[in-house]
């Protein structure tokens, strides 16, 4: 059983091949890391999976269905949610509203009951609020629910992004450098949180991260990307000792 399968994916920008013959798979409930030097094309891969970019060629099959070339909101509707390398929250809205917006794709009342404020609207709003509060609780943001997203400290903004992604009820969660800018303590807490939500929601998680302690600590399998191509794939120990990976990061050995 395979949840996400990518075959021969290509994307180039002008003359630059950002992603070249990319092959990749994810099994349900796996936690997989995608690493590589800066500019290797990791975020481009994420953007291709989530529909921000359209691939030049290749296929992306999620849950048995082709999703390459679909609009991002369609891909989200099928159960893929993500966070961003540079945080992209709805800055001028409250923490609670940020999470509520992500729940909109399952809005339990119609457009007309919104205008006429039928009883269905009020019960629906209550349900949306309860669901949103549940996610805020998991991410320990419930006492900041009325703050504007832009006023949160950095670490909490990162957590809110994950909470917001979770509110879309994904089966696959894609995290783009979730620990960037966090101190070791915060990173450790984040690792535990990621494990916790994976258990609780039966999530499959794919993450990009430069913090090797996090990647080696939580990922079950790791892909290494360099110049748009996979150069290695395997268990954390295998990757740690892989010659090509060390070369990609540190350069060739001088004899």
């Amino acid at each position: 059983m395979i949840l996400l399968e990518i075959k021969k994916l290509n994307k180039s920008f002008g003359g630059l091949s950002a992603v070249l013959d990319f092959d990749f798979y994810l099994k349900p409930k796996e936690l997989v890391g995608l690493i590589g030097p800066n500019g290797a094309g990791k975020t481009t891969v994420f953007n291709l999976i989530t529909g921000v970019y359209k691939p030049d060629s290749g296929s992306i099959i999620f849950n048995g269905r082709e999703i390459a070339g679909l609009a991002p909101y369609n891909i989200c509707a099928r159960g893929i949610a993500r966070t961003f390398q540079n945080i992209r929250l709805f800055n001028d809205l409250t923490v609670l509203d940020n999470v509520k917006i992500a729940a909109h794709k399952n809005v339990p009342y119609g457009f007309l009951s919104t205008i006429f404020r039928t009883p269905g609207f009020f019960s629906g709003e209550k349900q949306i609020e309860q669901d949103a509060l549940r996610f805020l609780e998991i991410f320990k943001l419930e006492n900041k629910k009325h703050e504007l997203a832009k006023n949160l400290p950095y670490g909490e903004q990162r957590r809110l992004e994950i909470a917001r992604a979770m509110a879309t009820q994904p089966t696959l969660l894609i995290l783009d450098e979730p620990a960037a800018g966090m101190n070791p303590q915060e990173t450790r807490e984040l690792m535990m949180l990621i494990e916790q939500i994976r258990e609780e929601f039966n999530l499959t998680i794919l993450l990009i991260e430069h913090d090797m302690s996090l990647v080696m600590g939580v990922c079950e399998r790791i892909y290494v990307l360099d110049y748009g191509q996979i150069i290695a794939e395997g268990l954390p120990e295998e990757i740690r000792n892989n010659k090509e990976v060390i070369e990609a990061y540190l350069g060739e050995e001088v004899v």
Partner: protein, 316 residues
Amino acid sequence: MQESKHKWIRFCGEVLILVALFTAVQYAITAGLLNMYYQINLTSMCINIILAVSLNLINGFTGQLSLGHAGFMAVGAYSAVIMTQFLGQPFAIGIIAACVAAAIAGFIIGVPTLRLKGDYLAIATLAFGEIIRVVLMNIDYVNGPAGVVGISKLTTWPVLYWSMIITILVVVNLINSSYGRAIVSVREDEVAAELMGINTTRYKVIAFVIGAMFAGLAGALYAHFFYIIKPETFNFLKSFDILVMVVLGGLGSTTGAIIAAIFITALTAALQSFPAIRMILYALILIIVMIYRPQGLMGNKEFSRETFNRIWGGRK
């Protein structure tokens, strides 16, 4: 239980205030306390509120800079007049026709132009507004540039007042819902919204169509109060007038739009004897607001029950 009972009492209280305001003005009109001068300004005020609140839905909440609002007003005005004056239908049919026609125009213009962003969208909507005006000038059926004269005065206070209230209610109810949050998320970060499952194009078009529809309503009310409509009435300066109200009130604040609409109408009335410096004052006010309050009078805040309670310092 207690909570919902409180809500009911508050709700009934608010309805009472609305009805009381309506009755007071209605009484003043029938008793002859309001002369024609005040009635004209009161009508402009209500029409401007409808225009500002509906444009604020597009510019303020959805964040799509539209400069073609007068165009939709024209579509509404002409549709209503064709119905009532040329085809002899009752005013209600005219109003419905105005709303439907303007909504359709909004859809036709919105679908292609809402792919554009920022300045490009502003230019495209400005151009579409002008196209509507020029097309009207060249249709002989509605007398071209001369316009339609002698429109019967059907915009009475009840029609005007309740149209305004319905406009405000629809916009407020829409914004304070999941659909409204989806609309606002488009303004905040379109890419992030799209990736959180919001079909951003759809919500932009919805906001645009609803905004256009109420502009059409305003057009119908305008035409049936002021006796005459010409394409020239709905030129891009009219669009700017509405935009000024929205920006002055604060983008994304319905109460701000209402306050600014009242303020601008009153100012215009006060300056009626010096029409030449009206635009200069407009410019000055805008410059001063932009310097000292770049977010507008209300920012994106609302003056709501909560604000009222806070100022009152009462319970909670």
